[in-house]
């Protein structure tokens, strides 16, 4: 069954910002990929602003939330910004349930996220 709904991660660079465009559900099967990509960008590349485009992410589980939290903590440690935009109802719900919605910088659109 692996690969039928594989997660796709691609990165765009706009000046000092990296935008990760994510497509697919984020769950235990693939959240390590998200974590690895995020931490590399924040810790190794030291990108000043990392933005997660979640418009095409329908579902995020607790392991996906944990990866986002690791990204947030790494960016705080590095003194950089970590931004989410385009949350689906399910993604918004898990951040609300974990009381993290107000902890993250969240925007509706890419334009707002990059403003």
């Amino acid at each position: 069954m692996r690969g039928e709904k594989a997660l796709q991660i691609s990165a765009r660079r706009i000046e000092t910002t990296t935008i990760f465009d994510i497509t697919g559900d984020i769950d235990l099967a693939n959240s390590p990929e998200i974590r690895k990509a995020l931490l590399k960008e924040i810790k190794e590349s030291k990108t000043p602003r990392v933005v997660m485009n979640l418009v095409k992410v329908r579902y995020i589980d607790s392991s996906g939330v944990a990866s986002l939290v690791e990204g947030l903590k790494a960016s705080r440690d590095a003194g950089t910004r970590f931004i989410l935009f385009g949350l689906s109802p399910a993604a918004r719900e898990v951040l609300q349930l974990s009381r993290l919605l107000k902890i993250f910088e969240v925007h509706d659109t890419e334009e707002q996220a990059l403003a």
Partner: protein
């Protein structure tokens, strides 16, 4: 079994199967009569329960058996019928003290799955029976709402 069988699934503890079960739960809960947010709640709870089994009960082994059984159970006072999900695995006995979930006032990764399950369902019960871990989840339809 005490209810009317809706679905029975046997799967291996492969995380690649999670999306398959989620798709089935989305359709089944919709057909049962839940609202969209309720469908997401039940689907999330089952997904997180399976994730916990795969990560903790089976410690990442991908070939161990899991059974998921869904059935309609009688309504309680002031509710409609219940949607019950029974999940069983053959992993080692789980320490009930580890099933409490963590506090949410600290920002840290991990430990959220149980919290999501408890927030999403009306009944969450765990027991050990005949060498299996059994998790019982129920969500009730709002009063007067039947399919």
């Amino acid at each position: 079994m005490s209810g009317d069988l809706l679905l029975k699934v046997e799967l291996r503890s492969d995380p690649g199967m999670l999306c398959v079960v989620r798709a089935a739960m989305e359709r089944l809960t919709e057909a049962f009569g839940f609202t969209e947010p309720e469908c997401r709640s039940v689907t999330r709870a089952v997904d997180e329960a399976l994730t916990n089994i795969m990560r903790h009960s089976y410690a990442g082994q991908t070939d161990r058996p899991i059974e998921v059984l869904c059935q309609r159970v009688p309504k309680r006072r002031n509710t409609g019928d219940g949607f019950e999900v029974l999940l069983s695995d053959r992993g080692p006995a789980v320490d009930p003290a580890k099933l409490q979930g963590r506090r949410l006032d600290e920002i840290k990764p991990g430990g959220l799955g149980l919290h999501f399950i408890r927030q999403s369902m009306d009944v969450v019960e765990f027991k050990r029976e005949r060498g299996s871990n059994l998790l019982r989840l129920i969500k009730y339809l709002q009063s007067g709402k039947q399919d």
